[in-house]
């Protein structure tokens, strides 16, 4: 079981967390100007990289969404920080 560092609560068991999305995805809007391809890419296409990835996770027990950088191969957690401005 992995340990994830919530920026607010510290290291906690992975069972307390939920994956939200890959980081860096901006919601395309206004809806009326968004092409079908762009919308489909936003909803369904993920990079799912092998190796280092940046993701948004939710710490369910405190309710905060935050950014985490981790390695999908080694499961090493590189770091995490609270969201602010950028996501």
């Amino acid at each position: 079981m992995q340990l994830f560092p919530c920026p607010f609560c510290g290291p906690r068991d992975e069972t307390e967390f939920q994956f939200a999305t890959e980081a860096g995805k901006a919601l395309p809007e206004p809806a009326g100007d968004v092409s079908a391809d762009r919308w489909a890419a936003y909803l369904y296409l993920k990079d799912n990289p092998k190796g280092v990835t940046r993701e948004v996770w939710l710490h369910s027990t405190c309710g905060e969404f935050f950014l985490m950088e981790r390695d999908t191969v080694t499961h090493a957690v590189i770091g995490s920080r609270a969201m602010g401005g950028e996501a």
Partner: protein, 950 residues
């Protein structure tokens, strides 16, 4: 076998037990295996596939044969390893794969057909005509122990969390030296060992360390560790290494249920020892063929001499010490050494045959003679040592890679794994002095290492690997009945990779996970395919190291603790009123009241609620407060329908969509003030709705300008619904003007009750005039009393969830997730206003305009009617369309009830193009039966909606 308990061993109190019905006795401190050996039992079970008689081979977790069912106090635990299970007074032990007993198994005849059931037999033979024809009989024949279905162990195994600087696995010389040094360095230590006392090999191979006997040295270190506050666990197996330094331990506790330890360690020292592997020769599975090291364990720890006439076959020096000890204990012993010469001299009186080959063993149900290099020797026990295989499982689970060490003829850890050290025999260090030094070195810069004052046992080895020998059957995997010929067959059929070898022959797949067989198996494959052992490689090591009972893994998270239900504050009151409870959306709620037939009680409640007034516990309905200057913006963005235009004191119904435009939930939102909204979602969706609000609040809005709070548990809500509901609420004296002008449908007002606040909301899920009365949870009991008292004069009825579900279905009110599925969008329910007219952004908006969303053949929500006198349609029945002889599903029934007030069935369904098919009669199929139903508006009762104001 002429095994016996030697008199010099001060055997403890006698312990009575039975084996296959026969009364026997063992001694205190025995395992089941040592007691069986001492009692002279040779055949302890039958093999899995051929039902060949098998005896005890090992003395620990590696044992392939001695698997037994144990009954104690009337409860049977299947598949217990006899070599690791302590003997307990009154145990009834039964062999597995055997009927009636291991000695007289009827299916033993299967072995005569062995040549017709080689590896891969099942894959090839039962494909035609259909495996399922054969499966029941094969399953009945296979399968180790028998499950006692009446024995469901209580959910009482605790999960214990622990943290430490270093977890030391194994309390043998290396582990003890490591723990001692680490503790002296000031690190916190948890040390675990699967035996009942520390010492590991010191318990059967005597040596002096730091001037005292090894076992005393071991106990002294454990005492020091415990005194200094470290944790030492015996009878505890570290069975799995997981991410980020988590190790799971299975602890057996005397007089207490087993425990699961979840240990987070900064570092792990693996000092798990090594397992002796057998030599392989014809008929080597006969009872009486054992591990040499195991025989030493039985002698030194249990005082059991396995036989009076013993041949020790070996390819290494370690077995010489075994032979000497057995000879000293009074046995006649001969050594058959496969090498031209050994590095140590044999004990006086022990004959050695060099360059020996074990041609075969003879005997019925056990060895009676051994043929060594053509010479027949009368002996009823053949001990073999093919060398030792380091126990590298935890290292490999942590993704460590192995390298072959030719000097020990075994795989040892290669490049180190971060956070893990391997020491002692597990690292291929088979001498005591090296084990102590390696253990000590795991603590950097520690003081003086412990020193062995006895000379090291030599471990010079000349590898001997299994190779085909004519027609003879040479067993590699005893538990799964895999022979050298099976390996050769796999190679011939091109299953040459070890992973294929494993799955095709089942080698190493039994409950012992090939602890004694994997090395021999892959070496045989290497020899047969002309590759090196290193090229052939090992299979993947996965947890658990030993079989761990599911009761331990599941712990207390079973039954009602698996996914605990939420409970109502008024549960006891409902129970006293005769409620039958069911789970709805994670809440335990009254399904109906009364002891009659459920359908009758539900119909009674529904009918009476339409006539007078029903009282329903609506506490689980979500009450999520959104507060702050941006509260309106947050709820608006999360809603399909516009909410910002709502006036304070008013309520609006709406959908919450996913980003894919699918209806996630429906509910009502009350506006308390411009900066205060209450979202009342479905009871089962509260957590999810809070999350969605939070996600957008944090991602899109100024989090300092709005907050979300789930106040559901803080309020108890009792709903009065029906023509007399206003009369009932009036009697509660809440201080609220209940006139329709002051409190219209979809309005709410705040009053007081019993010295606290009360909120009355006019929202209806039945189609009748309804009032939801909410008070702080602490006042639930008082409100319930007051409402029941008021209801008495009005002939009120208690309404369970089932009757409510029926009443709302009569009105065509949906349950999100029941009457909608993962494709349903608002337009599919005919609600297109916001999509067509709402300006600005909201969650899921873009998805409502995709090509798929705009298709005209989407499944749409409709009602259904059936012909007079017909029963309700089954929920889930498929609407079908037959075109060109092909039948396909065009939708399904989502809700279906017999309506007591209408006297006919009502149903809701999702049907392709349903909204444009009003009046059309279509076919529904369910479990082979076909019905017909006519598409109708969703609302079957009071379509004008007058009762909501009536």
């Amino acid at each position: 076998m002429t095994a016996r308990r030697i008199s010099s061993h001060g055997a403890g109190r006698s312990i009575a037990f039975t084996f296959d019905g026969q009364a026997l006795s063992g001694a205190e401190g025995d395992t089941i295996a040592s007691a069986l050996l001492a009692a002279g039992v040779r055949v302890v079970g039958r093999s899995f596939k051929y039902h060949r008689p098998r005896g005890i081979v090992g003395a620990g977790a590696e044992e392939p044969n001695a698997i037994v069912d144990v009954t104690l106090s009337g409860k049977t635990t299947p598949n217990v390893r006899a070599t690791t299970e302590p003997l307990v007074d009154g145990m009834s032990v039964r062999s597995v794969n055997a009927s009636p007993t291991a000695a007289t198994d009827r299916a033993g005849i299967l072995d005569r057909f062995a040549s017709f059931i080689p590896a891969g037999f099942y894959y090839k033979t039962f494909l035609w005509p259909d495996w399922h024809l054969f499966e029941p009989r094969i399953r009945a024949m296979a399968g180790l122990g028998r499950l006692d279905r009446s024995h469901e162990p209580a959910a009482e195994s605790p999960a214990i969390n622990a943290r430490c600087d270093v977890l030391v696995v194994g309390a043998g010389p290396a582990g003890l030296a490591a723990a001692r040094a680490l503790a002296r360095n000031g690190e916190s230590v948890v040390m675990v060992d699967d035996q009942d006392a520390p010492g590991g090999s010191l318990r059967h191979r005597h040596a002096d360390i730091d001037g005292m006997p090894g076992v005393d040295w071991a106990e002294a270190i454990v005492a020091q560790l415990r005194a200094a506050g470290h944790t030492v666990l015996s009878r505890t197996t570290a069975f799995g290494v997981y991410d980020h330094g988590l190790v799971l331990l299975w602890q057996r506790r005397t007089g207490l249920p087993d425990a699961l330890w979840q240990v987070r360690a900064r570092r792990i020292v693996v000092a798990a020892g090594a397992i002796e592997r057998p030599l392989v020769f014809p008929d080597n599975d006969q009872p009486g063929v054992m591990s040499a090291e195991a025989a030493l364990v039985y002698l030194k720890r249990f005082g059991v001499l396995v036989s009076q006439r013993i041949v020790v076959a070996t390819n290494n020096d370690k077995a010489y010490g075994v032979a000497a000890a057995l000879h000293e204990a009074g046995a006649w012993v001969m050594i058959a050494d496969t090498r031209p010469r050994g590095a140590v001299a044999p004990h006086a009186g022990v004959e050695v045959i060099h360059e020996a080959t074990i041609d075969r063993v003879s005997g019925a149900q056990g060895v009676s003679s051994v043929t060594v290099s053509g010479r027949s020797i009368k002996a009823d026990c053949l001990l073999t040592s093919g060398g030792f295989t380091p126990t590298v499982h935890l290292f490999c689970q942590a993704k460590g890679r192995l390298r072959l060490d030719e000097t020990i003829a075994g795989f040892v850890p290669g490049d180190p794994v971060a956070g893990m050290a391997v020491a002692g025999a597990a690292n291929g260090a088979f001498s005591l002095s090296r084990a102590l030094a390696e253990g000590h070195a795991t603590a950097r810069g520690a003081s003086e290492a412990p020193r062995a004052s006895s000379p090291d046992d030599s471990y010079a080895i000349a590898a001997v690997w299994p190779a085909p020998r004519g027609k003879a059957r040479q067993w590699i995997d005893l538990q799964n009945d895999v022979t050298v010929k099976d390996v050769a067959l796999a190679a011939r059929e091109n299953f040459r990779s070890v992973e294929h070898l494993k799955r095709y022959t089942t080698l190493g797949m039994a409950t012992d996970q090939g602890k004694t067989s994997n090395m021999n198996g892959l070496a045989a494959m290497a020899a047969i395919t002309g590759r090196t052992i290193e090229e052939t490689g090992t299979t993947t090591y996965r947890p658990p190291f030993v079989p761990v009972p599911f009761t331990v893994v599941a712990g207390r998270r079973r039954g009602e603790f698996f996914n605990p239900v939420k409970r109502l504050a008024l549960e006891n009151q409902h129970r006293a009123a005769g409620a039958v409870f069911r789970e709805y959306g994670g809440w335990l709620r009254p399904g109906w009241y009364g002891k009659g037939k459920p359908a009758d009680e539900i119909a009674r409640e529904a009918r009476q609620a339409r006539e007078t007034v029903g009282i329903l516990d609506g506490s689980p309905l979500g009450k999520i407060e959104v507060i702050g200057p941006q509260a309106g913006a947050v709820v608006d963005y999360n809603s399909y329908q516009t909410l910002a235009t709502l006036k304070p004191g008013r309520i609006r119904y709406g959908f919450m969509l996913t980003e894919s435009g699918v209806i996630y939930d429906d509910g009502v939102v009350s506006k308390v003030a411009d900066d205060h909204y209450v979202v009342s979602c479905s009871s089962g969706h509260v957590g999810g709705v809070v999350l969605r609000l939070e996600e957008w609040r944090q991602d899109r809005f100024d989090r300092r300008q709005v907050m979300v709070h789930n106040s559901t548990p803080e309020w108890a809500t009792l709903t009065a619904t029906g023509p007399r509901s206003r009369d009932l609420v009036a009697m509660l004296a809440l201080g609220v003007d209940l006139s329709d002008e002051a409190l219209p449908h979809m309005g709410f007002a705040d009053g007081g009750f019993s010295g606290g606040p009360a909120r009355v909301s006019r929202v209806s899920f039945t189609g009748d005039r309804s009032y939801e009365v909410s008070v702080p949870t602490g006042k639930a009991l008082a409100l319930h009393l007051a409402m029941m008292e008021a209801g008495r004069a009005l002939d009120a009825v208690l309404l369970g969830s089932e009757a409510l579900l029926l009443l709302r279905a009569e009105k065509g009110y949906i349950i999100a997730g029941k009457d909608t599925d993962g494709t349903t969008m608002p337009q599919d329910l005919g609600i297109t206003g916001p999509r067509d007219r709402r300006a600005g952004e909201f969650v899921g908006k873009r998805s409502l305009f995709t090509e798929n969303a705009l298709r005209d053949d989407r499944q749409q929500g409709v009602g259904l009617t059936v012909a007079d006198g017909e029963p309700p349609l089954p929920t889930g029945a498929h609407a079908v369309e037959t075109r060109g002889g092909a039948r396909r599903s065009i939708g399904f029934v989502t809700s279906s009830y017999q309506s007591p007030v209408l006297g006919r069935p009502v149903a809701l369904a999702l049907v392709e193009r349903g909204l444009s098919r009003m009046g059309e009669t279509i076919e529904f199929v369910h479990l082979g039966a076909t019905r017909r139903a006519t598409i109708a508006p969703v609302c079957a009762f009071d379509p004008e909606g007058t009762r909501i104001h009536g």
